[in-house]
């Protein structure tokens, strides 16, 4: 399973429905996820990809879209 598929699965789990937004669409501005889902997403990414997200990276833009999440996970892997 590639990273993007794993990320989409996390997003679907957090959204509670089988959404599949365009890679560059904001997950939050579009209303697909709320602010608290962002915190849950960071936790889920850490578990799924065995990475640690440092406090200095707690910036919503890093996790705003599938593409930005994928780039971030790639940078930490």
């Amino acid at each position: 399973m590639n990273k993007r598929t794993q990320i989409i699965e996390i997003i679907q789990r957090l959204a509670g429905e089988p959404i599949n937004p365009p890679p560059d669409e904001s997950l939050f501005e579009s209303g697909l996820l709320d602010s608290f889902a962002l915190a849950d997403m960071v936790t889920a990414l850490e578990a799924e990809f065995s990475i640690r997200v440092p406090d200095s990276d707690f910036k919503p833009r890093k996790f705003d879209s599938i593409a930005s999440i994928e780039a971030y996970v790639q940078s930490r892997s």
């Binding site: 602010s35 608290f36 915190a39 406090d55 707690f58 919503p60």
Partner: protein, 321 residues
């Protein structure tokens, strides 16, 4: 050694429910309740000042503890919504209590200000004996109640809380405190002099969701305590979802997290002490288990204070309620 000796609070009499607030921000009252968990908040009267609210909370605290204002050796007042760049409300609170000459320190810190005040008071109590910590806010004047600022404006309310930290005894002994600051995210929550309060909610929630439970877990761990051993968690009342997540992260029952957000909204630095005062009145004089106070807010500033039941020898005479 320092103790929590007494607590008090003051809430302005004007109740603003969602039915009244909703038209101001172009929203539906049911939506306000759903997204915030807040049913009503208090707004200060036009003639009330931040210091006046603080004075009332301080008097309530001192009366509850059966302590004369003349016994206060130091005042620490936290507020992020003071009317003036300087002076802050601390000296006016001292004046209002009739104790001019007693040193008074302002902490211009929203949200976590009273927690920092408690931690500082614990260390200063040895020299000043009775340190009065006050958190006082009129948030309704620093938000803009319109559609454009809706998401922030609907969260806040006015009020004040106070705690007397004493070297002479009290109902709980302060066992430890843990404070943190991170200015890298100072822009995420700020109040300029000439514009309404700004909050980047996503950034604040992301940080708070991670930092607050981590601070609580750390203070418990270094005191060899489990979350399940804590009798009550008294948190800055910022958001019900945040409190739920902190409880989940710690593996502690949510019922042990005192909540009054639905009645008062987020009263910033006042909220921790208002919550503590209400809990103290409900819980009675004797403490059966450790308590944790914790807050997170603008700065960023966050941390936790741990207090344990005080022994019989530490119970001061004179509490009247």
């Amino acid at each position: 050694m320092a103790y929590l000796r007494a607590l008090g609070c003051y809430l302005p009499s004007r109740v603003v429910d969602n039915a009244e607030l909703a038209p101001m921000v172009g929203a539906d009252p049911a939506w306000l309740s759903h997204v915030t968990g807040i049913e009503q908040r208090r707004f200060a009267a036009p003639e009330e000042t931040v210091a006046m609210l603080g004075i009332r909370a301080a008097r309530d605290c001192l009366e509850s503890g059966g302590v004369s204002a003349r016994e206060v050796g130091l005042i620490i007042a936290a507020s992020g919504s003071g009317e003036l760049r300087f002076p802050g409300p601390a000296t006016s609170i001292g004046s209002g209590l009739g104790i001019p000459g007693v040193p008074a320190i302002d902490l211009p810190m929203a949200s976590a200000g009273s927690l920092f005040g408690l931690a500082l008071a614990t260390r200063l109590a040895r020299d000043f004996r009775n340190v009065l910590v006050v958190g006082t806010e009129i948030m309704s004047r620093v938000v803009k109640l319109d559609r454009a600022n809706r998401d922030t404006a609907i969260l806040f309310g006015d009020g004040a809380g106070a705690c007397l930290v004493s070297a002479e005894g009290g109902f709980a002994e302060v066992a430890d405190s843990l404070l943190f600051s991170d200015g890298d995210f100072a822009e995420a929550l700020k109040l300029h002099l000439d514009s309404p309060l700004y909050m980047d909610g996503r950034t604040i929630i992301l940080h708070a969701s991670r930092k607050l439970p981590r601070a609580i877990a750390e203070i418990l761990e270094r005191n060899h305590l489990k979350a399940g051993q804590v009798g009550v968690f008294l948190l800055h009342q910022a958001n019900l979802n945040l409190i739920t997540r902190v409880a989940q992260a710690l593996g502690a029952p949510e019922a042990r997290f005192f909540q009054n957000l639905g009645r008062y909204g987020n009263t910033s630095s006042a909220s921790l002490l208002i919550a503590a005062a209400e809990w103290w009145r409900q819980a009675g004089q004797r403490l059966e288990a450790p308590i944790v106070l914790a807050a997170f807010g603008a700065g960023l500033n966050w941390g936790a204070v741990l207090a344990a039941p005080a022994g019989d020898a530490a119970q001061p005479a004179g509490r009247t309620s």
